[in-house]
């Protein structure tokens, strides 16, 4: 049908030997995240993906990643910084693509976990309906949102995870709305397991990955993921920023079982809020009202404490 102007591509040779030779040239199976990835220095994903690997204790996941920084991480074809089978899905689709994969794995008796690794854009915004539906169907998936509170991949626009007052390229005066409480939304789906994970609390992080691994059904994990590029922070500060966010109470560490039983894992330790805000230029805005953030933190904690008091986790949770 089409005329040729130069040598045709050759797709006719699918021989196993040739495929093997080609793949062996590029592939080293050494973990989920391998050297050579494209993450910026100090990116929360770099630590998060390595700890995910450690938490899975050798179990190889299939990674399902929508449009976001996390898929750029893989690098350009034919290389792959992911050392496990990985799919780059359309932006809103990762939990639905993962559903298909997990169903077929199950039909074939394969126990390997299927993991969605997604940004806040894919979770809080464009993928919310897909996520909600997969959670409602209680698909057997581990869904992890690395929340950098911004559209990193497209250069730093607002998402509904961007906190009140923060400057992004589409909220130049500072964002007028509060961050969406995605944990409450996911808990409302009454899925078996929801948890927040901190990149400054390794043991707690690994325990939660293990818990997720040992639970069946839909598991939702939220990681506060520093983005030096978008947060305008120092790459070397990333872990300390997360420690400050947990310490000042801005990012509570907690778990929700079956959407109804709560366990708080760390309480505010008196770290001043400013330790978190000062290191990030995205918070250098007229519209930042520190008093308001303080009162929102208090309100959030009053709520969480009340939930834990009234609906505590069981010992075996």
């Amino acid at each position: 049908m089409s005329a040729r102007t130069d040598t045709p591509t050759n797709n006719s040779d699918f021989s196993a030997a040739k495929c093997e030779a080609l793949t062996n040239q590029y592939v080293r199976s050494d973990g989920i995240l391998r050297p050579g990835n494209t993450n910026c220095a100090g990116c929360g994903m770099s630590l998060g993906l390595q700890w995910l690997d450690q938490g899975l204790e050798g179990e190889k996941p299939t990674m399902v990643i929508p449009a976001c920084c996390g898929i750029v991480t893989a690098g350009g074809f034919p290389t792959s910084a992911y050392g496990v089978p990985t799919v780059a899905t359309t932006f809103a689709s990762s939990p639905a693509v993962a559903t298909g994969i997990a169903k077929v794995r199950e039909l074939n008796g394969e126990a390997n976990p299927t993991v969605c690794w997604t940004g806040d854009g894919g979770t809080y915004d464009i993928g919310m309906a897909t996520l909600s539906a997969a959670a409602e169907r209680n698909e057997n998936l581990i869904y992890i949102c690395y929340d950098n509170e911004i559209y990193g991949n497209t250069g730093g626009q607002r998402s509904s995870a961007t906190p009140l007052g923060v400057k992004t390229t589409t909220t130049v005066q500072g964002k007028a709305e509060r961050k969406k409480d995605v944990m409450a939304i996911m808990a409302a789906h009454r899925i078996p397991y929801c948890a927040t994970l901190s990149l400054a609390h390794r043991e707690d992080f690994l325990r939660k990955i293990k818990k997720a691994r040992q639970t069946r059904g839909f598991r939702f994990l939220l990681i506060l993921s520093p983005c030096p590029t978008g947060w305008k922070s120092e790459p070397t500060d990333s872990v300390e920023l997360v420690r400050a966010a947990v310490g000042c109470g801005l990012f509570p560490l907690y778990e929700v079982f079956d959407g109804v039983r709560y366990r708080i894992n760390a309480r505010p330790d008196g770290t001043p809020l400013d330790r978190y805000l000062a290191g990030q230029k995205r918070y250098k805005s007229e519209s930042i009202d520190v008093g308001l953030i303080h009162s929102q933190i208090r309100e959030q904690w009053a709520c969480l404490e009340a939930l834990e008091r009234s609906f505590p986790a069981r010992k075996e949770d």
Partner: protein, 390 residues
């Protein structure tokens, strides 16, 4: 052979189900399903079917229905779904993704007008809008044609020389909701006809890599050219698939085009789907009166075999295209495709008729009027709006 009185949608549902079931010897079958008129009975049928090794997921949208198919196919299963009109347009992003991932998914498109304004009746504009998504496209004229084409579509789609998804279209209501006697394919025959589905780029722990990640212009161009080459492999693979079909089922489904009474025809009409049957009846009646008229039925729209089409019209000097679709600012979508096929034939008067849009009932007398117009005209003009609605 199980002869049964069934609707188009039940015939399609049954055929998808037995095709999925046939893959129980390999990695099973899985797809996503979301209802829309006039497709709904197909997915209801699939949800009710007891697969030995398969599952149909009732998702929240068509976008996710295709996403589930993509995941299932990447995991090595046979995968299929069905939709219509706004379901197809809503699904579009992942329709393109399925094509560009080279996944042999089969989708039934029950043709319906894309809204607004809301109209549930037949119009091929919905599936034709997906023509650039790297899917094969087949258009069916009858219940039996639909059943047979679905099986052929799986076989061609999953062939290693092709590895492209396939869309099989049937007319909303005119086919989907009417009842005819059909030879429904039995499981044991389908088991013989469809080899186990193998997706060579299935997700693999042995050879981990990123499917669908970043490419540069050079790789992307190669990717597109490989898809073109796969499209070019379709005619030969399809011929084999039809030969094999005939051996196993004892009848031969139609190929890309069927040229009927065209050898000595001076005037040829081109149509697809159920409209082709109406045209056939008119052509036969005119032939009985001694008029040299013929019909070319288009079954396969992607790939579009331009040379084969040019041959199919024979030496006809007048060709009229019946388009039940409209590309605003251009005209009929079949017509533009046919015009490029006849670019070496300046002697042919080619006229487009936009007919039956939004489900208008195309009756024999409308086809007669089109034929008379075509025979009488001095030259062709812009696509003609041939109104049929009463």
């Amino acid at each position: 052979m199980a002869r049964a009185l069934v609707t188009g949608n039940n015939a399609a549902g049954h055929t998808l189900a037995v095709a999925g079931e046939a893959n129980r010897v390999a990695r099973g079958c899985c797809g996503g399903a979301y209802p829309i008129t006039p497709q709904t009975e197909i997915i209801e049928f699939l949800r009710g079917f007891k697969f030995t090794k398969g599952e149909i997921v009732p998702v929240e949208s068509e976008h996710s229905a295709m996403a589930v198919c993509i995941g299932a196919s990447l995991a090595g299963a046979r995968s299929f779904t069905a939709s219509s009109a706004n379901g197809l347009t809503y699904m579009t992003e992942n329709v393109f993704a399925a094509g560009f991932y080279r996944l042999p998914i089969v989708m039934i498109a029950v043709n319906r007008t894309v809204g607004p304004p809301w109209n549930i009746w037949v119009d091929q504009g919905d599936s034709l809008a997906l023509r650039d998504a790297a899917w094969m496209q087949f258009y069916c004229e009858s219940h039996q044609d639909l059943v047979d084409t679905i099986l052929v579509a799986f076989r061609v789609a999953e062939d290693r020389r092709v590895l492209l998804p396939a869309l099989v279209a049937e007319d909303g209501f005119i086919l989907s909701h009417t009842t005819m006697v059909v030879d429904l394919p039995e499981q044991n025959l389908v088991d013989r006809y469809l080899p186990p589905c193998r997706v060579p780029h299935q997700l693999s722990f042995k050879h981990p890599g990123t499917v669908g990640g970043l490419t540069w212009p050079r790789e992307t161009e190669h990717h597109r050219r490989e898809i073109q080459e796969a499209m070019e492999a379709v005619p030969a693979v399809m011929r084999e698939a039809l030969d094999e079909f005939e051996k196993i089922f004892g009848r031969r489904p139609h190929g890309a085009f069927t040229a009927e009474q065209t050898e000595d025809a001076e005037v040829v009409l081109v149509a697809c789907n159920t409209m082709a049957r109406t045209v056939r009846r008119v052509v036969e009646a005119r032939r009985a009166k001694g008029e040299k008229v013929g019909l070319v039925k288009v079954k396969m729209f992607r790939p579009f075999l331009r040379e084969e089409f040019a041959k199919a019209i024979g030496s006809a000097k007048r060709v009229g295209v019946l388009d039940r679709n409209h590309s605003p600012g251009s005209g009929g979508i079949f017509w533009t495709e046919i015009a490029t096929s006849l670019r070496q034939r300046p002697d042919v008067l080619l006229q487009d008729y936009l007919v039956g849009l939004g489900g208008g009932d195309v009756l024999p007398r409308h086809v007669e009027e089109i034929l008379d117009d075509l025979k009488a005209r001095k030259q062709s003009e812009e696509p003609i709006w041939k109104e049929v609605a009463a």
